[in-house]
Symmetry: C2
Subunit: 338 residues, 2 copies
Amino acid sequence: MGEATIRDVARRAEVSVASVSRALNGLDNVRAETRDRVIKAAAELGYVPHAGARSLSLARAHAIGVVLPDLHGEFFSECVRGMDKEASRRGYLLLLSNMHDDGDQAAVALRAMRGRVDGLLVMAPHIAPATLESALPPALPSVMINSHAELPGRPALRFDNRSGAEAMVAHLHANGYRHIVHIAGPQGNVDARERADGYRAACKRLGLTPHIIAGDFNEEAGEAAAQEILAGAIPVDAVFAANDSMAIGCLHILRTSGKRVPEDIAVAGFDDVPLARYLALSTVRVNIAEMGARAVARLIDMIEGKDQVRASETQTPELVMRATTAPRTASPGGAAYA
Amino acid sequence: MGEATIRDVARRAEVSVASVSRALNGLDNVRAETRDRVIKAAAELGYVPHAGARSLSLARAHAIGVVLPDLHGEFFSECVRGMDKEASRRGYLLLLSNMHDDGDQAAVALRAMRGRVDGLLVMAPHIAPATLESALPPALPSVMINSHAELPGRPALRFDNRSGAEAMVAHLHANGYRHIVHIAGPQGNVDARERADGYRAACKRLGLTPHIIAGDFNEEAGEAAAQEILAGAIPVDAVFAANDSMAIGCLHILRTSGKRVPEDIAVAGFDDVPLARYLALSTVRVNIAEMGARAVARLIDMIEGKDQVRASETQTPELVMRATTAPRTASPGGAAYA
DNA sequence: CTGAAAGCGCTTACAG
DNA sequence: CTGAAAGCGCTTACAG
């Protein structure tokens, strides 16, 4: 019972384990006849090398740890897909660990990675830099994605949330909207904060009065914000949510309450999830799959000693204009589906 | 340089590595004073045990390998989310590997798992049973999700696609539709085949003439099918796509071509992705997150010797009736958003 | 309660 | 070109 080991192969091929190792790893200091015997024996036994033992001896796991927060649907899958694509292309496996919303769990998740991976990809928009820094194994190459401040020696890849938000406000302004309300993301989340900052900055520059409703990135928060807006205490002709989920929740409630979008109120989001296209929701596109792949590429370069610089990178998001923010002078008519 | 090892801790605490191991693993045959010294030394050194070495010595990795095909957005994330939740609850990590559409890659992916994981979760609706059987390490506990035939000793968890499809056809029939076209999934995919089988069986039972258009589970296939339907060669009053993506593509083209849904043509899908709710698309709901969690639970039970029976399980999908399949007598009016 | 030693399954100088 | 041996970082009988 149990899988065959290198010793079983050695015995069957009547050579030493050293020769088996050399033959199977394609080293050239093996006689052709020996190599053939080894390969034959391995095939007969269905031998597959034990990756755990191999990585202990090589001090290389050919795996990278991925620590992600609780991400909404498409965002998560796109991110992992991008990572997996690049990782498998370069012969690495992904060890996944969800990290929920507190720092202790993050530390546990990171510790569990020790001795299994050659590097770490961390997305922690909600963890304070100091907490993160102390939880990260100092010697392990790591790339931070969309996280708080810069950590020394660890490249940070991020979206330029601020300029994305500014672009959206400018777009709304250009299309004739003057009372733009922002539905913010969760407290302490760095993406949320930067998007709100961009909103505020653009309002200031354009002479608009900012008004922020608190939210948490979930659809329900967008629905609640819509109710608040429908109550009518403040003037609103456009809503800019800090992500698409909230924008969609808001849109849904506004429409089912009889409001026309964008004729009565324009709605915009952030992220460009696939749903956005179908709802004709204007938004700011971030390419998370590409960022995931890029993060893996950078990390593997670091692991393999090809990246001494460790520079951070910023991806500029792209404004996506759709029907929910059409110019105020647009002809009336439903835009629910375009 | 390099992380601290158990020997560093032993040296600093002035005990043997055996005592360090015992103290840190909470065994009771350690004097309290010794334990304290060890814990103190470990903390001072920032010692984290090397999981790779630990699992080699214990012959237990506390990790499970997940091999998935290329899944569409929500389906993938929901599946992994369900798995991760249960895995982390029970102290296991997930080692992820995407398997693209061919058997060779599957074998490579599975081999790479050897010696890193205690068991395997395999979703391979597109791989032939014989190929799969030969690629699976015989001694490794495995649970099959939505895959072809039963493999001995490996529980299969699956959706009852057939009855789900039958229920949808019956629903369409009950609502007055008589010319129901099916857009099928890819050749060789077991889900696709079962859904088509259910469609055919229901048509036969209800005295309807089946008509199947080939597809591949992608949105574009739904769009192409819509074009074919719009060409008008065959009578169609309802379209039942083998998954939501194709249904959505079809819906999109029908509507932008001026067809009213469901007044002119009803549309139904399969899966119940989040988008479906927003488009008021009728569909058949499969709870993939729950199935993922369940698969992990079953696998860990097997690993821990708590499951001798290894019974397969079937999850019955649920019919979700929305506006795109409203009764033929329904009052006219847009149903794009409900 | 504690330590020296063997062993988990590999790789790789080292010597021949 | 090949093999015996040490070592990767742990755990655990075994003896004391």
